[in-house]
Each structure stands twice: as structure tokens, then as C-alpha cells.
């Protein structure tokens, strides 16, 4: 027994010694200098054979077809030769808009479309079988055009087929929301093949097996044996974990390839592992601007990816690039910011030696609250793992600056001041009151504006003018709403941005008098608005049951042509407040839509009556900072962080972002960019879409660009603003919550203001 104990004791020692040796060995391994592994995928842009394409069909020989709503079928051979099929579409005036498209290897085309109607009778006849149904069209290899009437024993007429694909043998397949069909393109006969849980949106063919995928699953179908095959768990798992974005497929030589936002993947058929071969962050796949729509496998494991927006890249393996970049630039924002993701992609392309990591606190896929996201960030800061760049939208900038998290930017911004490149009044508006330094800079700003008939809102004396104007409007229009604020919260949300900066005194204390005044004005406006909505009219309006439109003879209706539903919401009420969020297509706040800036005064007869005006509340010259960016004091890569900031403020980024179709997000703070955006004569956009009250017809309104005088007005407005409204503060939330009680009559404005003071007392004490 004693011997046994002794042996056991020895064993323990042996184990200890073994552990120490292992640790020592692993430490030694770690200390050895490793060679940087080289080689990773990169991409290059492909020059497109034309514009307007929305669909790409890869060919086995390395060429591809391009097709779109209003384009000819274009074939691009592997050597780059372009040939176009001119089908003279204009001859067939019945096609209004094409939707899903499929092209075969031989050049046959199948697509769904909505027709045009020349008379009400024609529309009514069509609508009898389902007004939202598609029609189908087949163009054979020779260019012969065949409008198809689909039929089949297990196909219900009117069922919309959303996605199509030709197999390499030329068989046509289609997917509805819950079923995959085979179609005889010559006769229009439809055969149901199998049911699906979700909408199948992508097909690939691996020999005789068709792989059809929806958001969560892959369906495998034996085309030769005409039977559904067993599921593939590896593919299903992959799709389930990539539900948030679109996945496109391609198959070649027994290998299935997947391309999606996170990267490019390879799967040897029937294996158990799907291997990532390119990281989406380091190629265009991760670019939030584009959604992958087609994938083509080329020779030597090179790839071609076609994206939305008629953009295409070729991915190739570059042995000279390090497999993993040596440096990392970490960017953090509370919520996804498309502009920052785009800038990250640009930066990534310019710096292949850097890995740009864009992290969001609340990424939409999980239920992380703002508070939890901030706690996570603070934990990282506490642990010394600060990001390099913080996007401060929705965050308390003063707090982060005051605690030394943010780097002072006065020095960094001084060249911009000398250049006079930025609206310096806006940069100055970001200066902290506590220490007089600048820690953050916005990329763009929203400008508060109102839209109304001039006679109602023409003053600039703040809330008093608004109330007086609305009183006049109510006298003239006793019925219907005055403002586009179905809910009390909408009204508060529209008033708060131009009033909030006035509620805090210079010493940081709360001005309850101002809050009472705010509540009084909000209450008066609410009561005036409610006076025109008696009984349950407001509730019906909120539910969208009741539509308010001004009578035909009223001027405001003419803004959008009387026969159509008021596209901009004007005419349903007499004044709208908001911010200039979108410079080209129109102005919209987060709470409502306003009309297009360039449409101001563009309609005959209303130019003197319906106007935009500077919206002043209790605070003057307010702007709403957007994409507010700061550099972390503890940034691991401070030089890269500054370089990234320079990119954000560069003409390239500001112009490119807006010019590539993302017009929302306010007015850029770079002077030249504002001018460039308003110089829109050279831009392609010349129409807006609208729908008639049947919801069918798409109408095209002529767009009138803003006159020089209007542009100057906007530039002047940009020069004037100086007071920054920062959303998401505790004070704002408290005033909004208690404001609802004031509007509901539970509290008087005085009681409301006192309650706000009581609630804020603890926060201020802290």
C-alpha cells in the first residue's frame, strides 16, 4: 500500500514535470521568429461592356452574357470580344418592366415582366386574374420572340415565378415562393418538381444534380432521375450561418463555390468541410455597396463576380501579398454605417498590407441593446483594446472626450482650416465646451428645414412663429391634420432637434423654463392638429385607413399632379418639418418624407407658395452631425487612423459616395463636394418613380434641377449653422417620454418640465 502511495506520488511529480516541459516547449515555439506566409486572393475591376445590365450569365468557356431591363443581350467572349443581339424591343410596346431573367448557354432568354395598359378595360381584364401577377416571355436562340402563357396541372395560374435558371443542357427551371418547377420554354408547360420551405433564389448545376438554395437550405435534385436527393448537411449549415446576405453559387469539376459578403468558399462535393479561400474583407465581396449576383469559375482557380449596380470584378491569387496583413485598422460604430463600410473598402484596396476591421456594436443579427453595445466597447477600452477609429453617432461625445478616450484633432484638422476645404463653422460646432478642443468631426450634416405654403411659415423666430403659422392654417383649414405627425411622438421628434441645445445652460445646468416653453408650444401644436381630427379620425389616420388629401383646387396638390397619390405627402397636411437628409432625390428626415430640394418651386403655379424655409426652434443655427468620427487616444495604429480620417474627408470619398447613388445622409461638410453634388446637370437621374392609386403604373416625373439662387441659399445655410444637435442623449429621451404625458393631458407643461428636472437630477448628480 505504502509502495502504491509512493508510486502515485511519483506519478504526480512526473505529471508536473511533463506539464512544465510542455509549457517550456510551447513558449520556445512561440518565441521563434516565423516567416510571414504569403499569398491571398485580390481582385481587379472589369470594364463593363455597357450600362444598364442587371443580369450576368457565366459560360463554361470563360465568356458571359449580360442582359438587363432596357438592354440588348450582350455576349462577351473569353477573349473580350463583345457581340450584341438587337431584338428591337421597342417594337413590342407591351413590356413595361422586366423582372427576373435567365439566359442559357446558347443565348436563349426567359424573363418575367409587367405589361403596359393602354386602357382601363385592358387593365381590368388583366387585374381579374391577379393584379400583381407577372407575365412571361421567351426569346429562343435564333431571336424568335414568344410571349408565354404558363400552364400545368400542378401550377396555379397567377402564381408568380421569381427566379429562373437554364441548366447546361438548356432545360429551364423556376422557383415560386414555395416550389421549384421545370418549364418547357417552347410550350409554356410547367411541372412542379419539389416543395421548398422558403423562396429559392439561386441555382447551380453539378453534372446531373441541381442545387437550389433558399435562405436556410439547399435542395438537391437529380435532373436525370427526376427525384429529390438527400440533404447535404455541410451546405445547409453554411447557408444557415450566412442568412443575412445573398449567397451565389458556381460549380465546376466536382467543386461547388460560394460567394457572399464574408468571402469566397470552396466545397468539394460530398465532403464535410466548406473552406474559405478568400476573406470578404480583403476583396470587393465585403463591399456594402454591392450585392453579389453571379459567380463564374475561370481557369487556374480565378473567379469573376458580378454585383448589383452592374459592377464586376475578377478575383485572382496574388502570391506577393501576405496571407494575413501585418497591420490592422479597427473601426467601431454603434450601428452599421454604409458610408464607413464603403470607406473601409476603399482604404483596404489602397492598403493591401492592412486589414480593415469594421466592427458594429449592434449589427442587427443579434438583440444587443445600445446600452450593452456601449458596455462592450467600454470593456474593450478598459482592457486596453481600443479601436483605432470610433464613429460616434448615437454616443455621448463629451463623455468619451472628457475621459481621454478620444484624441484631440485640432492639429490634425489645421491643414483643412488653411485650405478652407471644409465648412469650418461646422467643425467649430464640434468644439467641446469643457476644454475648448475638437475631438471629432462629422462627414455630413442634416439641415433642419420646413416645407409649407409661404403664408403659414415665413418667420424665423422659432417656435412662436411655427405656432402662429399653424393657428392661421387651422383657421383656413378647419379639417384634417396640419402637420405630418400622426403620433404625438412624431411631433416631439420633429421639434426636439431644433430645441434641445437650448435646454442646457453654459454651466451645464438644466433650463426648465425653456423645457416648459417647449412643452407649451408642442401642446398647442398638438391641440391644433387634433382639432381637425375629431372622434376616432386620428386613430384611423394612424392606421392608414383614412387618407387626407387637399381638394383638387388647392395649390399643394398640383405639386404632384392631382390624379396620383401624393408621392411626397404634401397636400395631406399644411406644413412639414424635418431635416435635409437627401440632397438629390428629396429631403427626408428619419420620421417623414419631404419633397425634393430640386423640386422647390419647379412646378408651375406653386413656386411662390410652396417653399422650403430655414427651420428654427428654441436653438438657432442648428445642424445635425452625421457620421461623426474620432480617433482613439489608445489607437494601435494612429498613423493609419489619421490616414483613414483623411480619406473620409477627401473629395474622393465625399464625391464618390454621393455620386454612386447613395444620396441620403445629409450634406457633406466639404465645400467642393456640396457644389459638385448640386451640379447635377451631368448626372443621369432625370426622373422619379410614382404609383397611381391602383399601385400598378410607374410614372415618370420630370425633374427640375435647383436654380442657382436656390443653390446659393443652401450654401449660405451651410455657412450659417454652428450649433450641433447630438441625438440619443438621456435628456432627449426623458423630454420625449414625459412629453407624451404632456400631450396626453396627464401633466401640464410646468409639471412636465419639473418632472424632467427631477429625472435629470440623478443623471446630473452622477
Amino acid at each position: 500500500m505504502a509502495l502504491g502511495r509512493k508510486k502515485l506520488f511519483h506519478k504526480e511529480w512526473y505529471l508536473c514535470v511533463l506539464f512544465v516541459v510542455c509549457m517550456a516547449l510551447s513558449a520556445a515555439c512561440g518565441s521563434r521568429e516565423e516567416e510571414t506566409p504569403m499569398g491571398r486572393y485580390a481582385d481587379r475591376d472589369v470594364e463593363m461592356a455597357g450600362s444598364g445590365y442587371t443580369y450576368m450569365h457565366p459560360l463554361a468557356d470563360g465568356g458571359y452574357y449580360l442582359f438587363g431591363g432596357d438592354t440588348e443581350l450582350t455576349r462577351v467572349d473569353a477573349d473580350g470580344t463583345v457581340s450584341r443581339e438587337n431584338w428591337n424591343w421597342e417594337e413590342n410596346s407591351n413590356i413595361n418592366a422586366k423582372f427576373s431573367i435567365a439566359v442559357s448557354d446558347e443565348g436563349a432568354v426567359f424573363f418575367s415582366y409587367r405589361p403596359k395598359f393602354s386602357s382601363n378595360e385592358e387593365y381590368e381584364e388583366f387585374a381579374e386574374e391577379g393584379e400583381l401577377r407577372y407575365l412571361y416571355y421567351y426569346v429562343d436562340e435564333e431571336g424568335g420572340r414568344h410571349p408565354l402563357e404558363l400552364y400545368g396541372t400542378d401550377y396555379r395560374k397567377g402564381t408568380n415565378l421569381e427566379y429562373f435558371a437554364f441548366s447546361p443542357e438548356g432545360r429551364l427551371y423556376a422557383a415560386s415562393a414555395s416550389c421549384v418547377y421545370g418549364i418547357d420554354a417552347e410550350s409554356g408547360e410547367v411541372m412542379s418538381l419539389f416543395q421548398t420551405a422558403g423562396q429559392v433564389y439561386e441555382f447551380a448545376f453539378l453534372e446531373d444534380t441541381m442545387i437550389a438554395i433558399d435562405k436556410e437550405k439547399a435542395y438537391l435534385y437529380d435532373c436525370a432521375g427526376e427525384k429529390l436527393l438527400d440533404r447535404n448537411s455541410a451546405v445547409d449549415e453554411f447557408l444557415a450561418s450566412h442568412q443575412s446576405g445573398r449567397v451565389v453559387l458556381a460549380a465546376k469539376d466536382g467543386i461547388l463555390y460560394f460567394a457572399c459578403r464574408t468571402g469566397l468558399y470552396r466545397y468539394i462535393w460530398d465532403g464535410s468541410v466548406i473552406e474559405q479561400i478568400a476573406d470578404g474583407r480583403m476583396v470587393s465581396l465585403g463591399d456594402s455597396q454591392y450585392t453579389p449576383k453571379a459567380l463564374q469559375v475561370l481557369e487556374n482557380e480565378e473567379f469573376r463576380v458580378y454585383f448589383s449596380g452592374n459592377h464586376m470584378v475578377e478575383m485572382y491569387y496574388d502570391e506577393t501579398l501576405p496571407a494575413k496583413p501585418e497591420k490592422e485598422l479597427v473601426i467601431f460604430s454603434l450601428e452599421e454605417n454604409g458610408r464607413i463600410r464603403y470607406a473601409g473598402q476603399l482604404f483596404q484596396k489602397e492598403h493591401p498590407e492592412v486589414l480593415v476591421k469594421y466592427e458594429t456594436g449592434m449589427d442587427g443579427d443579434n438583440a444587443v441593446s445600445k446600452e450593452d453595445a456601449l458596455k462592450n466597447l467600454n470593456t474593450k477600452l478598459l482592457a486596453g483594446e481600443a479601436p483605432d477609429i470610433i464613429i460616434l453617432d448615437g454616443m455621448d461625445i463629451e463623455q468619451y472626450a472628457g475621459k481621454g478616450v478620444l484624441k484631440e484633432l485640432d492639429g490634425f484638422l489645421s491643414p483643412y482650416k488653411e485650405e478652407e476645404a471644409l465648412y469650418w463653422n461646422i467643425v467649430e460646432g464640434m468644439r467641446m465646451t469643457e476644454d475648448g478642443k475638437i475631438y471629432s468631426v462629422p462627414m455630413s450634416v442634416y439641415l433642419p428645414l420646413w416645407l409649407s405654403e409661404k403664408k403659414y411659415l415665413d418667420g424665423e423666430d422659432g417656435l412662436a412663429d411655427i405656432v402662429a403659422g399653424m393657428e392661421r392654417a387651422r383657421e383656413e383649414h378647419p379639417e384634417g391634420p396640419l402637420l405630418y405627425t400622426p403620433y404625438g411622438e412624431d411631433l416631439l421628434n420633429q421639434l426636439i432637434p431644433v430645441c434641445l441645445p437650448a435646454w442646457t445652460r453654459e454651466d451645464g445646468s438644466l433650463d426648465t423654463g425653456k423645457i416648459e416653453e417647449f412643452y407649451q408650444a408642442a401642446l398647442t401644436l398638438w391641440e391644433l392638429d387634433c382639432a381637425g381630427l375629431e372622434g376616432d379620425a386620428r386613430e384611423k389616420w394612424q392606421q392608414g385607413i383614412l387618407q387626407y388629401h387637399a381638394p383638387d383646387e388647392q395649390d399643394m396638390v398640383r405639386v404632384t399632379d392631382g390624379q396620383y397619390i401624393d408621392y411626397w405627402g404634401i397636400g395631406a397636411n399644411w406644413a412639414q418639418f424635418g431635416v435635409l437628409d437627401n440632397m438629390v432625390f428629396g429631403m427626408s428626415s428619419i420620421h417623414m418624407k419631404l419633397s425634393a430640394f430640386r423640386d422647390r418651386g419647379s412646378k408651375e403655379g406653386v413656386e411662390d407658395e410652396v417653399i422650403f424655409g430655414k427651420y428654427t426652434g428654441q436653438a438657432e443655427a442648428v445642424f445635425w452631425a452625421n457620421t461623426v468620427t474620432g480617433i482613439c487616444e489608445q489607437a494601435a495604429q494612429p498613423e493609419l487612423a489619421e490616414e483613414f480620417m483623411n480619406l473620409l474627408l477627401s473629395e474622393k470619398m465625399m464625391d464618390k459616395w454621393w455620386l454612386q447613388g447613395s444620396y441620403s445622409g445629409g450634406v457633406p461638410i466639404r465645400k467642393e463636394s456640396v457644389e459638385s453634388i448640386l451640379d447635377i446637370d451631368n448626372h443621369e437621374f432625370a426622373q422619379v418613380l410614382g404609383f397611381d392609386d391602383k399601385g400598378i403604373e410607374i410614372i415618370y416625373n420630370e425633374i427640375c434641377w435647383p436654380a442657382e439662387e436656390e443653390k446659393q441659399w443652401l450654401y449660405q445655410l451651410m455657412e450659417e449653422v454652428s450649433c450641433c444637435y447630438r441625438s440619443g442623449s438621456m435628456l432627449e429621451e426623458t423630454v420625449r417620454n414625459i412629453g407624451l404625458q404632456v400631450l396626453g393631458g396627464e401633466l401640464t407643461p410646468r409639471e412636465g418640465a419639473d418632472k424632467v428636472a427631477g429625472k435629470m437630477a440623478i443623471e446630473m448628480e452622477e
Binding site: R5, K375, I762
Partner: protein
């Protein structure tokens, strides 16, 4: 003589052997304890020491500030408010919880259907926090059940008088609501602990006291209560800890800035964390730990003195 010497030698030998065995088994015990001790050291003691260290430094630039953080905490009005509210909550909640659960345990220990009742009383403990908050809201909201019943009764009594309800969690009665939910959630569990304590008491002593003519009160005061001193300490400590653990429900129901009388120390700590007041947070944590430690020691001494 030889035999005597042999006996002495044998005793000595056996003593050494025993010592040697003890030493070895002591080492073994230590080895068994080591992982646990290392865990406590790594995950509790060392981080706590780091918190103590941080409490003397400024959060932003890491400059040594001595007692400045402690002074800042002490002079912070929100801290004083939170301490006062937490003290009220504890002073009302802990005795009520212990008292009610003890009374229930005493009533139930002779019941035959005890098990089913115990299970029923344990249900609140198993209810997820979110559900509990929902139930609370249904009860005490402005359009809640309590106001609904009151409205119904008052309208009947007053002949249709309009009754405007109160949002109790945003009124001065918020503390009472919080204490009520705390009792609802924890009474069953504490009662089980009391029942376990009561089950461990020898019945003979109580029976002997009854035979000697002691009444119920005398049996409780002279026989049962002194023997429950150990349970009293454990349940008391657990009740205090439950007070601190109930923050999650309060936060979910009333947010980071609730009605001022239910603003507790955890609210302050959470808000400071969001506001990056790490230095003051560290100082407050050290203060709070010290207070809890002193409280434990006092309670333990008091109970030991009672038992002695």
C-alpha cells in the same frame, strides 16, 4: 527494561509514522485544494486587488491620485442617494423576507401536503426575469390590473367617478412595489432553507419542553430559536445578497434612471460604467466590499455570541 525500551521505541516509531502520514495527507489535501484556491486567486482575489489598485489612479491618464476617487465618491450626491435607498431597501426587505419565510416555514413544517406547497412557492424563483418584469408591469402599470380593480371598485362605489390610475413604478410607492416583488420571488426559497434548518433540530428537546408545560411561544423562544442561530446567519446573508441580485429585475422594469427612491447602488455602478467613470467605480466597489465584509463579521459575531 528491554521490553520497556522496545515499547518506547515502537511508540516513537509509530508517532513518527503517524506524523509522516499526516504530513503526506496534508500535502495531498493541499494539492486537492490547490485548483480551487488558484481559481479563487485568479478570478476573484487578483482582479479585486487590481480594482483596489485602480481605485487610487485616474481612469484616463492613469495618474496616481491617492484618495481622490474615494473623496469624489463620498461627495457625489447620487452615491449618497443610492446608499440611502439601498439601506432602506435592505432594512425593509431583509427582515420582511426572513420573517415571512420563517413564519411560513413554521406553519408548514407540520403540514402533510408540504411538498406540493413548497413546489408552488418555489415557482417565482424559477420564473425568468423578463417574465417577472412583464407580470410586474401587468400588475402595477397605469393601465395595469391593480388600477383596473381599483377603478372598477371606485366607479361602483362612487357612481361612475372617473379614476385616473397611477404608474406605481414611477410614483413614490415604487419602493413598496420593488420590495413586494422581491418578497414574491424569494420567500419560497428562504422558506425551504428555514425548513431545512428546522428539520435538523432534535424533536426530543421540543417534546420534552412541551411535556414540561412550555407553551408555543416559550418553545419557540427558548428551544427552537437558539438552535436556529446557524440558519439565521446563513439565511440573513443570503437575503442581503438577494437584495443586491434583485437589481436585474428592477433595471428591466424601470431602466437606468428609475423613480428616485428605487435608484440603488447597482444603478450607480452600471451608469458609471457606461459613463467611463472607472476610477470612481473602483473606489465604490472597494467601499462596498468593505461594508459587506464588516456587516458579515458583525452578524457572525453577534450570532456566535447568541449561541455561546
Amino acid at each position: 527494561m528491554r521490553e520497556k525500551w522496545q515499547l518506547k521505541w515502537r511508540n516513537k516509531k509509530s508517532g513518527e509514522l503517524k506524523k509522516s502520514v499526516c504530513r503526506k495527507s496534508g500535502i495531498k489535501r493541499l494539492l486537492f485544494l490547490l485548483p480551487g484556491f488558484l481559481g479563487v486567486l485568479l478570478f476573484y482575489l487578483l482582479p479585486f486587488l487590481e480594482v483596489v489598485r485602480r481605485s487610487f489612479f485616474k481612469a484616463g491618464n492613469h495618474a496616481f491620485v491617492g484618495m481622490e476617487n474615494y473623496r469624489a465618491v463620498w461627495n457625489n450626491a447620487a452615491f449618497l442617494r443610492a446608499v440611502r435607498n439601498t439601506a432602506y431597501y435592505m432594512a425593509a426587505g431583509v427582515p420582511l423576507l426572513m420573517g415571512i419565510s420563517l413564519i411560513l416555514a413554521l406553519l408548514m413544517r407540520r403540514l402533510t401536503a408540504r411538498r406540493k406547497l413548497v413546489s408552488a412557492l418555489l415557482v417565482p424563483m424559477a420564473v425568468p426575469a423578463a417574465v417577472m418584469v412583464l407580470v410586474l408591469r401587468i400588475l402595477v402599470d397605469k393601465q395595469g390590473l391593480i388600477n383596473g380593480v381599483l377603478s372598477f371598485v371606485l366607479e361602483r362605489a362612487g357612481g361612475g367617478t372617473a379614476f385616473t390610475g397611477t404608474d406605481y413604478l414611477n410614483s413614490k410607492g415604487a419602493l413598496a412595489v420593488v420590495i413586494g416583488s422581491f418578497l414574491w420571488k424569494n420567500t419560497g426559497y428562504m422558506m425551504i432553507l428555514w425548513l431545512a434548518g428546522l428539520a435538523g433540530l432534535p424533536k426530543e428537546v421540543e417534546e420534552a419542553a412541551a411535556v414540561d408545560g412550555a407553551g408555543r411561544w416559550q418553545r419557540w423562544h427558548y428551544v427552537i430559536r437558539p438552535q436556529l442561530a446557524g440558519s439565521f446567519f446563513t439565511i440573513g446573508m443570503l437575503s442581503v445578497l438577494q437584495i443586491f441580485r434583485s437589481y436585474r429585475e428592477i433595471w428591466m422594469a424601470a431602466g437606468s434612471y428609475p423613480q428616485e427612491n428605487i435608484y440603488f447602488l447597482q444603478h450607480l455602478l452600471q451608469n458609471w460604467y457606461l459613463k467611463l467613470e472607472f476610477d470612481q467605480m473602483a473606489a465604490l466597489t472597494v467601499l462596498l466590499s468593505a461594508v459587506l465584509l464588516v456587516l458579515c463579521l458583525i452578524l457572525q459575531k453577534r450570532l456566535e455570541a447568541d449561541a455561546g
